[in-house]
């Protein structure tokens, strides 16, 4: 609010240059937002307008027929259900296991702590693609190929380091003194955690879970390689629109809209909290 007010005061002085900056800003808005707009625009277009070689940039009419087509091209709810099962399970395991580990590295002083932290950070940096060959062979050996449980296990490779690291960030921001005060007042260490730290940590836990869910939901390569066609997940489902005969773009954009909108909304809800966590302390120099 006050920022806007102070801008208002400065407007007279710098009115003209500000207008220039604003035009540039609007240009950035248009370029950054255009793909999203075009996806939604195409999704609601009548099929014949979608394959107009000279497409109108503004909406030409609203129809849901592309969504109907998207739903009949290949089973939609099956893949969505599987994606939900996988993502939710991964997040629950990731949060429980990750919280314990995050507590260990943020609240205990012990030998080897730094190595564990550096190790977890390093693990996060290994590109997933580089691991697909041995992971594929591992699941093959374990009899977990083409099983959701196998996919869940492999998703932990990126969800777990992420949850540990992010929760650690949230925990270190809760003053240790609060816990110590509770312990002085007669709480056990566990009691102090449950009554003092946990309520303060809850928003961070929610944000981390949601973000982890989004990451698991969006994963493509492992889902493609480790499950057969019949067990495909939501991201792989989007590939059904491209066949030998070409791509059905309007239904594909309808499918893309159905995939993206819930995820973007979830993302909007937690983005602020996550961005703060990612950059906390980065300017300490």
């Amino acid at each position: 609010m006050s920022a806007i007010a102070s801008m208002g005061r400065r407007r007279n002085r710098q009115g003209r240059s500000k207008a220039g900056w604003n035009i540039l800003g609007l240009l950035v808005f248009l370029v950054a937002g255009f793909p999203v707009y075009w996806m939604i625009n195409t999704a609601f277009k009548p099929a014949k307008d979608a394959i107009d070689p000279d497409p109108s940039l503004l909406p030409t009419g609203v129809t849901l027929s592309n969504f109907d087509r998207a739903l009949e091209i290949a089973d939609f709810w099956g893949p969505v259900g599987r994606s939900l099962i996988v993502s939710l399970t991964v997040v629950v395991i990731g949060i429980v296991v990750g919280l314990l580990a995050a507590l260990a590295i943020s609240r205990f002083a012990f030998r080897g702590r730094k190595i564990v932290i550096v190790g977890i950070l390093a693990v996060q940096m290994v590109p997933l693609v580089a691991m697909i060959i041995p992971v594929f062979l591992l699941l093959n050996d374990l009899g977990q190929y083409d099983k959701l449980s196998g996919l869940i296990l492999t998703y932990l490779t990126f969800i777990l380091p992420f949850t540990v690291w992010t929760l650690r960030g949230f925990i270190v921001n809760i003053p240790k003194e609060l816990e110590e005060a509770a312990m002085v007042d007669g709480c056990s260490r566990t009691g102090a955690f449950v009554r003092v730290v946990f309520p303060l940590l809850a928003p961070g836990l929610v944000a981390t879970s949601v973000y982890g869910f989004i990451q698991a939901w969006n994963e493509y390569l492992y889902a493609l390689m480790l499950l057969s066609q019949e067990k495909q997940t939501a991201t792989v489902w989007l590939g059904n629109f491209t066949t030998k005969h070409g791509t059905e773009y309007a239904p594909m954009m309808a499918g893309a809209t159905m995939m993206a909108v819930p995820i973007v909304v979830l993302f909007l809800l937690v983005q602020r909290k996550m961005a703060a966590g990612l950059t906390a302390g980065a300017v300490k120099g």
Binding site: L121, P134, N218, T279, V283
Partner: protein, 328 residues
């Protein structure tokens, strides 16, 4: 507890030759308050899972790259036999591999440079614009940041479609430009430029939002003082703002390098699951060798080389994290 104590040190992937954590550390029991075993007990499930799903495959990746491992080994008809450095000498002696390496490095460098420069410019611009413009730009940025990569890729495929893509139609309206029916993916460099645009479009929001947060922490007085001393806008940025932002910039750049060297689904989906030779980058090349040619040994060797290439960048990232005390 003792199981956790004795097994954990070996499982921690140690990037340096740091001394192995000497766990049975009884004398410190009182000081740590919960017993020296407690933290390891808390860490045990996490480390166990990571060793199974990360540690084991990493080791397997290394052993595989020294083996002849094809279809018959996959189905268990023949045991995997060790072939020494054959996979590596074959890969490194292949001129196609070096083309792929150069293409990957150019592609990733382009992605990183454009992402960082565009991100910096937009972050600076956001400081200049009115509140409502800032809100609009932020909404667009967060929406594009939150788009699943696969969705974004299919959308870009549609934007750049040869016959019905909106981009060809709009660009052809410009005088002297005729792109009707132009196929952007007929040539590797052009197609990869489109994919680069897709990567940059997806990566810029994170950079802008992080840099904007950093910019709010640059003391106004410092900039003011520099301006009073007669510095122009550029030198204020160069000598005041930039040095303060340096830790963030180093982190963002290293992260971008790591992410952009690992780009896979964008290329894979854009080329309908079969990237042509001109589109191969290290990740798709390794995938191709393993799952299309069925030479898992050579595929692993390529993946391992990719990881090795990244090690230096990871080291810079880790050093920065240690320096800013994030690890304390």
């Amino acid at each position: 507890m003792s199981a956790a104590d004795t097994t954990t040190p070996a499982k921690v992937p140690t990037p340096r030759q740091a001394p192995p954590p000497d766990v049975p550390d009884r004398p410190r029991r009182e000081r740590t308050g919960g017993g020296a075993g407690t933290p390891w007990l808390l860490l045990a499930p996490c480390l166990l899972i990571l060793v199974l799903v990360m540690g084991y495959p990493l080791v397997r990746l290394v052993t595989l790259s020294f083996q002849k491992f094809g279809q018959s080994q996959l189905w268990g008809f023949q045991p995997a036999e060790s072939v020494g450095f054959d996979n590596f000498t074959n890969v490194l002696g292949d001129s196609e591999f070096w083309q792929v390496v150069i293409r990957t490095v150019v592609f990733a460098a382009g992605c990183v440079i454009f992402t960082m420069v565009a991100g910096m410019l937009i972050a600076l611009l956001l400081q200049k614009v009115s509140g409502w413009v800032k809100t609009l730009v932020n909404i667009a940025l967060v929406a594009s940041w939150g788009m699943p990569i696969i969705v974004a890729t299919t959308v870009f495929k549609w934007l750049f479609d040869a016959d019905y893509g909106v981009l060809n139609a709009v660009l052809s309206k410009l005088p002297g430009v005729d792109l009707i029916g132009h196929n952007w993916f007929a040539s590797g460099p052009q197609g990869l430029a489109v994919i680069m645009l897709l990567v940059v479009w997806g990566a810029v929001p994170f950079v802008v939002i992080t840099l904007s947060a950093g910019l709010t922490q640059v003391p106004k007085e410092l900039e003011e003082a520099a301006r009073l001393d007669g510095s122009g806008a550029f030198s204020v940025f160069r000598y005041v703002t930039l040095p303060i932002l340096k830790p963030i910039i180093v982190m963002l750049t290293t992260l971008s390098v790591i992410w952009d060297m690992g780009v896979f689904p964008q290329v894979f989906v854009m080329r309908n699951g079969h990237p042509e030779q001109e589109f191969q980058i290290l990740t798709t090349y390794s995938y191709d060798r393993a799952f299309v040619v069925n030479d898992y040994g050579q595929g692993s060797a390529i993946a391992l080389i990719t990881v090795m290439l990244l090690l230096g960048v990871v080291a810079v990232y880790m050093r920065q994290m240690l320096k800013i005390g994030e690890v304390e």
